[in-house]
């Protein structure tokens, strides 16, 4: 057994809502594993099962080789967990929060300082500031320090970058990279598709199901249809024109471009691009540029999501 996390056929329902539907995956020791999906996909339920807070209905899960149901207490002292929304005490200062969580895990800030230093040093100048007066990025750093202070063997981070600006998010992922380099296993969830690129492997999760598990760079290679990036002036008008194209499978806004997917799996992407260019030009769109591209994670996610049944109600 060298897997840090092992999840087999896990299901969990709340009333009539299936939060997790027969999920299986594993995370190797020292891996940075991402769970990518929107709110309500089941990420939080999964984290709560891995942290022993919830009992699965069916299936099994182990963390560090310990069973999440039977080995409750053995797991708890060894995981570092950061729930969504940064569980901090708003009326305690930065230092007080950190000292409290250190003591609760039976250690001191001094003992864990070496590990948290790269992160904590950035907020240490504000050690006497109350947590509710911190910016989102600073709260995130403090919450990470609190989850790390007892030097856990695995780090479980539930949406650590939600509500945090793009700059803080990049810094946060840089820090996770440093922690990973030290050998720590990290499981992290995020609704931001672009962040998946920073993981060793990602699981795309939606509606309680895992759509795909792969290294982020190879996820797009399974995209079976021709994908064309289209760039031009009136994006909104272009979007509607492209959707009227007889072979259109899906057309989405994508940054400063539009991503067009063709129904014909065996069509040559270059030929499709050319066809498209002529089609929109004939309908009055000028200076439109279209070229084939390799699918990214978000393209894949939308394609997989589109073929999965949509959830009818939000999960807890």
């Amino acid at each position: 057994m060298s897997n840090a996390v092992d999840v087999r056929s896990l299901s969990k329902s709340f009333g009539s809502v299936k939060a997790l539907d027969d999920i299986s995956f594993d995370v190797a020791e020292g891996e940075l594993f991402g769970l990518v999906g929107p709110d309500g996909a089941g990420k939080t339920t999964l984290f709560r099962i891995l942290t022993t807070l919830l009992i699965p209905d069916t299936g099994s899960a182990s963390v560090l080789g310990l069973d999440v149901v039977k080995d409750l207490w053995a797991i708890r002292s060894r995981v570092g967990y950061m729930p969504g929304g940064f569980a901090l005490y708003p009326d305690l200062s930065v230092a007080e929060n950190l000292e409290f969580f250190a003591a609760v895990f039976g250690t001191t800030v001094e003992k864990g300082y070496e590990l948290i230093a790269p992160i904590y040093k950035q907020i240490e100048p504000f050690r006497d500031r109350r947590a509710d007066a911190l910016s989102g990025g600073m709260k995130q750093k403090l919450a990470l320090s609190c989850a790390l202070v007892h030097r856990p063997d695995i780090l479980l981070l539930d949406e650590p970058t939600t509500g945090v600006d793009a700059v803080s998010r990049r810094e946060f992922w840089d820090q996770l990279g440093i922690l990973k380099a030290s050998g720590l296993t990290i499981v992290v969830s995020t609704p931001y598709m672009d962040e998946a690129l920073r993981c060793d492997r990602v699981a795309l999760i939606h509606g309680g199901k895992i759509l795909e598990i792969d290294p982020p760079r190879s996820i797009g290679t399974r995209y079976g249809l021709p994908l064309i990036a289209v760039r031009g002036g009136d994006r909104f008008g272009l979007l509607h024109t492209l959707r009227e194209f007889p072979h259109a499978h899906a057309v989405y806004l994508f940054g400063d471009e539009l991503h067009y997917t063709d129904k014909r799996a065996d069509a040559l992407p270059e030929a499709v691009a050319r066809e498209l260019g002529e089609y929109v030009a004939a309908r009055g769109h000028k200076d439109v540029e279209a070229h084939p591209i390799v699918a990214g994670i978000e393209d894949s996610f939308m394609e997989l999501m589109g073929s999965a049944p949509a959830p009818t109600a939000t999960a807890a």
């Binding site: 942290t51 002292s77 729930p83 003591a103 039976g106």
Partner: protein
């Protein structure tokens, strides 16, 4: 358990309590305000007091004093008699509230060496109004005496009081133990329930549960600071009662504080139970109010005497913790008795504390469901 973790927990809780200034102020002022409000509210203003005057030897002094009473507009003369045997039937039939019985030769005593005596008999079947009657009566006599003295006449009027039907009742005195019970349950049950459910709402409970802390550690850590706050409240209530209303304290302060701790544990355990069964702060607060404050206020004998409750309701009061605490507190404060008399109530409270604490620990799951 890891003492560092416990200490850190208690320190954290104190920070929560001390930094929420508004709540803290309310919690600390509550016993004071309640003692004063209840104390004064009990002394309700009364008018139209029906006065019976027994004047065996009418003279200028007794007539003068009578007119003083009538000129206050509060007293109304019901009857004047020379013999005291009219009092009893008047009171029985509820025709008089206060009877003023002059000594024979009142005026001559006022001039002489011996003190002039007046007996004041009050219908105290309702202790609150009875006390008010008495205070007004005394005030009129005292003013009369002060005026005579101001004219350089060293006179002495001695009044003697009979509280009819309810001879020893001093309502404020009886109320203070009840108030302590109420304030303690408010602070302990309500605040613990709120603070636990706040951890749930903030998500910090998730981290605490995932830590090596066991549920009992979390409960102990939560409970200790509020025990301290409860202690402070008991002292404030006692001090306020003593300073403002001169409520006596005849027994052992230490014993009362120990009993308060037992009673507080009962309330704290109730608070934990409430928090375990509710999912939001608001629900926790309302449940705590309904489950603890109301029965403790209404079914404890604090406001309504248990003896006057319907027979079917009386057994229900046995499970109300405040019922036993009020007996204990009244015994210690007003009668000065100790454990030799109060052991039974103390035992009941202790058993309640242990059972509820055990139930609280059981209800507090190590998981989220």
């Amino acid at each position: 358990m890891n003492l560092n973790a416990l200490r850190a927990f208690v320190v954290k809780e104190f920070h929560h309590i001390l930094r929420d200034r508004q709540t803290l102020t309310i919690l600390l002022m509550m016993p004071l305000v309640q003692v004063i409000l209840f104390g004064y509210a009990l002394r309700s203003d009364v008018r139209d007091i029906r006065l019976a005057v027994i004047d065996p030897t009418p003279d200028n002094a007794t007539i003068e004093l009578q007119s003083r009473f009538l000129s206050t507009n509060r007293f109304r003369l019901e009857t004047i008699s020379k013999t005291p045997d009219v009092i009893e039937p008047l009171f029985r039939r509820g025709r008089a509230d206060v009877a003023l019985v002059f000594d024979p030769g009142f005026a001559s005593h006022l001039r002489g060496v011996d003190p002039a005596r007046i007996l004041i008999a009050v219908d105290a079947s309702d202790p609150n109004t009875g006390t008010t009657y008495l205070n007004y009566t005394r005030a009129v006599i005292a003013r009369y005496q002060a005026e005579l003295n101001a004219q350089n006449r060293q006179v002495q009027i001695v009044t003697e009081t009979r509280m009819r039907f309810n001879p020893t009742l001093e309502s404020v005195n009886l109320f203070v133990p009840g108030l302590i019970a109420l304030v303690l349950v408010l602070v302990s049950a309500l605040m613990t329930a709120i603070s636990l459910s706040r951890e749930k709402e903030r998500g910090t409970m998730e981290v605490l549960l995932v830590s090596p802390l066991r549920p009992q550690h979390i409960i102990v850590g939560k409970v200790i600071p509020y025990l301290g706050l409860g202690f402070a409240n008991v002292l404030t209530a006692l001090l306020a009662a003593w300073v403002v209303f001169h409520v006596p304290f005849r027994g052992s302060v230490v014993l009362l504080l120990v009993e308060s701790v037992i009673y507080t544990i009962v309330s704290l355990a109730l608070g934990v139970l409430v928090a375990a069964r509710t999912s939001s702060q608001r629900a926790a607060m309302l449940t705590a109010m309904l489950a603890t404050m109301l029965p403790n206020a209404l079914l404890s004998g604090m406001i309504f005497p248990i003896a006057s409750m319907p027979a079917w309701l009386r057994p229900v009061t046995y499970i109300v913790p405040a019922r036993w605490f009020i007996v204990i507190a009244r015994g210690i404060m007003l009668k000065g008795v100790g454990l030799t008399i109060l052991w039974r109530e103390t035992l009941i409270l202790s058993v309640m504390a242990m059972l509820l604490l055990a139930a609280a620990m059981r209800s507090f799951k190590p998981r989220l469901e």
